[in-house]
Symmetry: C2
Subunit: 365 residues, 2 copies
Amino acid sequence: MHPDTADTTIVSDIVHDLVTVIPAGGVGSRLWPLSQPHRPKFLLDLLGTGRTLIQDTVARVAPLSDRVLVVTGERHAAAVGAQVDLPVEDLVTEPSPRDSMAAIALAAALIEERWGPRVMGSFAADHLIPDAEAFRATVREAARVAATGKVVVIGIEPTEPSTAFGYIEMGQTLSGDARHVVAFTEKPDAETAADMLARGGFAWNAGMFVMRTDVLLGHLDRLQPTLAAGAREIAAAWDGADRAEVLGRVWPTLTKIAIDHAIAEPVAAEGGVAVVPASFEWHDVGDFDSLAELSGAGDAPTSIGREAPVGAVGARGPVVVGGTKPVVVVGVDDAVVVESDEAILVTVRAQAQRVKDAAKSLETT
Amino acid sequence: MHPDTADTTIVSDIVHDLVTVIPAGGVGSRLWPLSQPHRPKFLLDLLGTGRTLIQDTVARVAPLSDRVLVVTGERHAAAVGAQVDLPVEDLVTEPSPRDSMAAIALAAALIEERWGPRVMGSFAADHLIPDAEAFRATVREAARVAATGKVVVIGIEPTEPSTAFGYIEMGQTLSGDARHVVAFTEKPDAETAADMLARGGFAWNAGMFVMRTDVLLGHLDRLQPTLAAGAREIAAAWDGADRAEVLGRVWPTLTKIAIDHAIAEPVAAEGGVAVVPASFEWHDVGDFDSLAELSGAGDAPTSIGREAPVGAVGARGPVVVGGTKPVVVVGVDDAVVVESDEAILVTVRAQAQRVKDAAKSLETT
């Protein structure tokens, strides 16, 4: 993957050995109708930069990765393959979604089958990190800690008391910047979030994990033995003639569970998780309010990914995304109007979270 | 116009002689983007009945009219001609808009040139009257009063203290249902409107006038002599070889004034105007709030002139007009979403009046 892997001298052996896994699942239903089951968020060029989120993600990790594996659904494999330049064997397709732990466990087992135990990093396909170099410096630090046998999570410095993310409670210093993880907390209510920010020592959990494959699979053998055995069995058959048979038989039996619940929380309770705090700018661009903010929306009309004009009559800060026709908003502040080939959405920024139910509302009409 | 004019025995001679004039001007800018300068409101099938407003209007007046003249702008003549089945000479085209008095005066003078003095009725091309028979009964009554030399206005019984219409103050009974008009008042503020409804004796002025052409032109000779002389000069040349020359020279000199100010108000002050009160349902369908109400919009989503579904998430009573894509409204009550071939409008019903400035807002972006 890395074009000058052979010549790289500035990265350590550990980072040289890093294999990056990009689980590319999740529709991003709060970005409907841009995102759709057949066109999930990670395939979108949300900000109109000319690159989709998964293209950005691969470009961000490539300079520090020996290999990059993308794990995605079978129905999206062709689109992913068209967007990112990967060896075909590094595009790992799931027959059906079985949550993040199955995807990451399969990738870990496949890495061991192919190249032996490695340090792996797992990063979502649909997040936005403007400063790629700062991201990579943090991952290198995380990889050094992971080499010692810890499961390492990258902790994002909170910029506001968000209720949209889980939090990492950070404990004593382990080495360098790295600290022990005391516990993970689920998405808090507003009061709890404000309290955590006031107390300090908490970081956002952006789902970025770095760990040795043997450490991860060892934890899994203890904590989720069925899942671990199934992932190893599929991986052993993956590059041979029996893949389809084994996948068809075993994949549907894998426990549906998120890596947070399967590994991060129980292993943290045992003292096995470290956090490397990071202050780089990070966005999950989860809804149109977040997209509007990232696009610099203010009091004037804002266009995202479109050319046609936007007008406002007694309407502060309309945000119009996509579509080819002029749009005028009259008498509604902070309106969001989104047009895709399939549908039109109208909401206001403060209600953007509720868009996740938009597609369903059409099914019942 | 009337297919069995020759056989009609149930209508009186006066009504038999009625010539109807339909001034078809006005874009209807509060219905943008359905209405546009090139596609004014009267050419639209707003309610999806399969007939446009001007088609409805012609169908409504045809059974009581000897002839129907439509006065419209040159740029709309082809569209009007395609929509309504009129003898080509009864489609009177204006080179430029010079307000309602010029249009009606030209029609009156043209009627006298062609057929001698007649009773004429003038009715807007873009209003909605569901009970056509009740309308015609009222016009017949108005025509009987007009034959005596009065300018007659049809007064609509107010159903609410609207601030969108002018009011007619009704005085003593003249004959039958007809009463003297004391005065016309401009669109009132809310307090004045409520006061008028409480006091009683007021009707809405829907711009429906019935009068003898010689009476109208006689008043005009006194009150607007330049306009009267100009209209007569153009009418005299209309059906001859000099129409273009006279029209080009005289039309631009005609005073721009509404019939309300030129005739109705000053003649009422002289005691020359009568009102025939009417209780038939009447709507000017002036904006999308009015259109929504007419379409029976309630708490559930309402589609007008479209097939694709409409969804709502935490959004009461969205109204979607036109367009071919599914639309979902999230978290905005009483939203109005309108799609035409040219543009998309987003507003809420309470702000529908402000749509008149929508097109302009695009010019400045």
